[in-house]
């Protein structure tokens, strides 16, 4: 009964989505406010019914209702409760339901926080999100119904894929989807602006917190995915340039570009066309990501058995959304205009270069990701594009970008002077280069040039972010505690995110240059040394988990005779899906990780063992966390709330709120 309620709720949600997508749009065009008024109740009702559907599926998982095909495929009576709940999005149908839930939740949020928007604009935004929702709900009901029944009811479920039974996977997909789907808000804002033919600084100010919030979720989602791969896959890697990883990274890159170009649109009224195009691209890439993951066209760690019919549907949906919005763009963008003039040396130019680099980087990744698909489709042979391609293309593009992190925020709007910038940044440059030289010298090792470049860039990003903050304090002409308190959160957010990039670069550099890996055969009692740490193997014993048996090894790690850690890696056999699973044991600290994974059992109690010493690897996740925190600070900046309360739509009201991102009076 409950699953039928769920399915019925989805059908009602689809009807409401139709209302939400069509009526307000027509109303805004014809000036009928009664039609436009449909938007809010329809969106809220849709959210309610999708929540009901999601609740029904969750309930079916909790009570082990194996008459539901999807539950049977992805659960088991021995599966612990928290994994039964996360199993709701462990498979195809459920993750689409999560997608729909997240979309309606964002729409609900828009209905809550957009009261101050002009009625027509608001109706259009909500309607566009309704149209996206129609596509998703139709897709689910037509090809991937999560509530499909199975007769006769099997007694036992086939269990969740063991790889997905991990804390990282409980939170990674919801975060990622919040980010992916959150880009639909920016998309809806852009389409609404194109339809209305009216785009100004106020539009940018409304969009910014939404884009930043979605970007924060996307950042955290990608970071969690990387962390999950690191400790779950047992290869010690954290990024593989896997097509599915790329699929999440491309919208992130374009989203990052969007955040920066929105800043220009808000402060200077420039880049309008470009900002709209970026908003369309960011969401299109999110949809493309969904298509790549869900259609099964890609060979990757995420590619589980899939149905081609679904791929064709998503491809059609993608074509309609991307094609339709680009057509609309081509037709209406000239009306929007680009606005605002600036000199070749200015903050606008710095941000423009930032945008170009990010978009070009996303394009090269897109090329590498889709190239094998094209060749295959044309019958030109099967190839795969490997990490060396991505590294060789991506890293050089990021070098000038990191340089701009130091320059951009200090450059004046409209016109900056190279001499002044060089003067302000001279010590930063000297310090960064000095650190870059010093680290490879003190820590002798291979790859010294790469290390020098990496450390220099990391130090440059970090120090210049602090110097930039100091410049704000200086300009305030107040005692520094009060000056610090007076700096808006947006600036703190930017500083924090840029610091995070510095931390991330240092982490990547040191991890890749100085990690030590060893694969060897170890018998009980054997000891080996790795990067100054002695690892002694004390054999394995049987342990039992809720739904698996495991052989658990014990490794005592010592350094110069002193105990450092006891590591217990496991080799698990899950009872239902009898495939073996490696569970690595990791001793993490701020400066290094020690990582042990069991391979296969060999003769006489010996095991194949993989050991890693990974310096600074935690910084790879600390950096993105700081970026996300920066995004949160920026999204919660007071001026968005202030303008939300004021009547919006006034063009010149930028002067009434702190325009402190402008370092000079030349700002507004």
């Amino acid at each position: 009964m409950i699953p039928e309620i769920g399915q019925f709720a989805l059908s009602i949600a689809l009807c409401l989505a139709l209302l939400q997508g069509v009526m307000p749009l027509a109303g805004a065009q014809l000036g009928r406010s009664d039609w436009m008024a449909v938007a809010q109740p329809a969106a809220r009702g849709q959210f309610l019914f999708v929540v009901i559907a999601f609740g029904c599926l969750t309930y079916a998982f909790i009570v082990h209702d194996f008459t539901v095909l999807y539950v049977w495929q992805n659960s088991n009576t021995a599966l612990p409760l928290h994994y039964r709940i996360s199993a709701v999005w462990g498979g195809h149908e459920g993750s689409l339901l999560l997608w729909a839930l997240v979309l309606t939740a964002w729409t609900f949020a828009v209905t809550l926080f957009s009261r101050s928007l002009p009625a027509e604009f608001r109706a259009r935004v909500i309607a566009v999100m309704g149209l996206v929702s129609i596509g998703m709900l139709l897709f689910m009901l037509a090809t991937s119904n999560p509530f499909e029944r199975v007769f006769p009811a099997p007694a036992e479920g086939r269990d969740l894929n063991p790889l997905l039974q991990d804390p990282g996977l409980v939170v990674h997909p919801p975060m990622l989807y919040m980010g992916y789907v959150g880009m639909s808000v920016a998309f809806a804002f852009a389409i609404a602006a194109l339809l209305g033919g009216h785009l100004d600084a106020a539009w940018a100010r409304w969009s910014r917190p939404w884009v930043t919030a979605a970007w924060v979720f996307l950042t955290i989602g990608i970071m969690l995915g990387s962390w999950w791969a690191y400790h779950e896959l047992g290869w010690g890697g954290w990024w593989f340039w896997d097509p599915v990883e790329n699929a999440s990274f491309m919208p992130w890159l374009v989203g990052t570009a969007l955040i920066h170009s929105l800043a220009v649109t808000e402060k200077r009224g420039a880049f309008k066309n470009w900002t709209v195009l970026l908003a369309i691209l960011a969401f299109s890439l999110s949809l493309l990501g969904t298509f790549l993951v869900r259609s099964g066209v890609l060979v990757s760690v995420h590619a589980f058995a899939n149905d081609p019919a679904r791929g064709i549907y998503i491809l059609m949906f993608l074509t309609v959304v991307v094609g339709g919005s680009l057509l609309l763009y081509a037709w209406r963008a000239p009306r929007v205009g680009s606005g605002g003039t600036f000199e070749p040396i200015s903050r606008e130019t710095a941000l423009l270069v930032n945008n170009i680099l990010l978009v070009v980087a996303a394009a090269t990744i897109l090329l590498g990701t889709l190239y094998p698909l094209f060749l295959d489709a044309l019958g030109l042979g099967k190839i795969s594009v490997g990490p060396p391609y991505f590294a060789a293309v991506f890293v050089p593009l990021m070098l000038p970008l990191v340089f701009l992190i130091g320059v951009g925020p200090l450059a004046r709007w409209k016109q900056a002077r190279i001499g002044e910038l060089a003067y302000r940044l001279r010590f930063v440059l000297i310090a960064a280069i000095a650190l870059g030289m010093l680290v490879p010298l003190t820590v002798a090792g291979m790859n010294t040039i790469l290390v020098a470049v990496g450390i220099t860039l990391g130090a440059w990003a970090t120090i210049s972010a602090i110097v930039n903050l100091a410049a704000y304090v200086q300009r305030a002409h107040r005692p520094w505690p009060r000056a610090l308190a007076g700096i808006p959160r947006g600036i703190y957010g930017m500083t924090c995110a840029h610091l995070g990039i510095g931390v991330f670069i240092v982490g990547v550099t040191l991890t890749s240059a100085f990690e030590v890996e060893r694969e060897l055969r170890m018998a009980p009692g054997d000891a080996t040394e790795l990067a100054g740490f002695a690892f002694q193997f004390h054999g394995v014993r049987q342990v039992e988990g809720p739904n698996y048996m495991a052989r658990q090894g014990r490794f005592e790690v010592t350094r110069e005779g002193e105990a450092v850690a006891t590591l217990r890696p496991e080799k698990r056999i899950y009872r239902v899906q009898t495939s073996p699973m490696t569970d690595a044991a990791i001793d993490s600290s701020f400066f290094r990780d020690l990582y042990v994974a069991l391979g296969e059992p060999l003769d006489r109690g010996a095991w194949g063992v993989r050991l890693y010493y990974k310096p600074f690897v935690q910084w790879l996740w600390l950096g993105p966390l700081m970026m996300a925190l920066g995004g949160l600070l920026a999204a919660s900046d007071r001026r968005y709330r202030v303008t939300a309360r004021q009547h919006a739509g006034l063009r010149g009201d930028a002067a009434s709120v702190p325009t402190s991102t402008a370092p000079s009076p030349g700002g507004a």
């Binding site: 495929q73 760690v301 590619a303 073996p580 699973m581 194949g608």
Partner: protein
């Protein structure tokens, strides 16, 4: 020049520069070893279609009873088949969890003059019902109808 023209010029110069750089980078990157890996079936390798000494990927089923481990415990020899031809492989290192006899796998590496494929990486997928698409196709191309592969179905 008017400010508007100046800005347009800046934009065009930047675009040309960045697109040019990106193209150059991409062309350079495609030439790096391991950037582009072609895929061959065991019967193609057997027929001499695969290059010698260059990295490529090979995929097929691990032949039953062919897996032999050497004394160091880490070097493994096994054979890969598409049921039309069989190629011997050698790999040193830990094998993935789902590496088993009869299982479909994909390996990266180089073919030696002795006809032995030296694998640098062995991939098996993380789903027991999942067959890498290349392997499925290579089995089909070799004239098999889904051997050893039962698609997920209802009970």
């Amino acid at each position: 020049m008017t400010p508007k023209r100046k800005r347009k010029l800046t934009l065009i110069v930047l675009l040309v520069l960045s697109v040019g750089t990106a193209t150059a980078l991409a062309l350079y990157a495609f030439q790096q070893t391991g950037s582009l890996l072609y895929f061959y079936r065991p019967s193609q390798v057997y027929a001499g279609e695969a290059p010698q000494g260059r990295m490529f990927r090979i995929g097929g089923l691990v032949v039953d009873g062919s897996v032999k481990r050497e004394a160091d415990g880490l070097t493994v020899r096994f054979e890969l088949t598409d049921n039309a031809a069989t190629i011997p492989l050698v790999y040193t290192g830990l094998l993935p969890d789902l590496f088993r006899e009869g299982q479909g796998i994909v390996a990266h590496g180089r073919l030696g003059e002795d006809g032995l494929f030296r694998a640098e990486e062995v991939l098996a997928k993380h789903d027991e019902n999942y067959m890498p698409p290349e392997v499925t196709e290579s089995l089909k191309a070799a004239g098999n109808k889904h051997p050893a592969y039962v698609p997920q179905g209802k009970p």
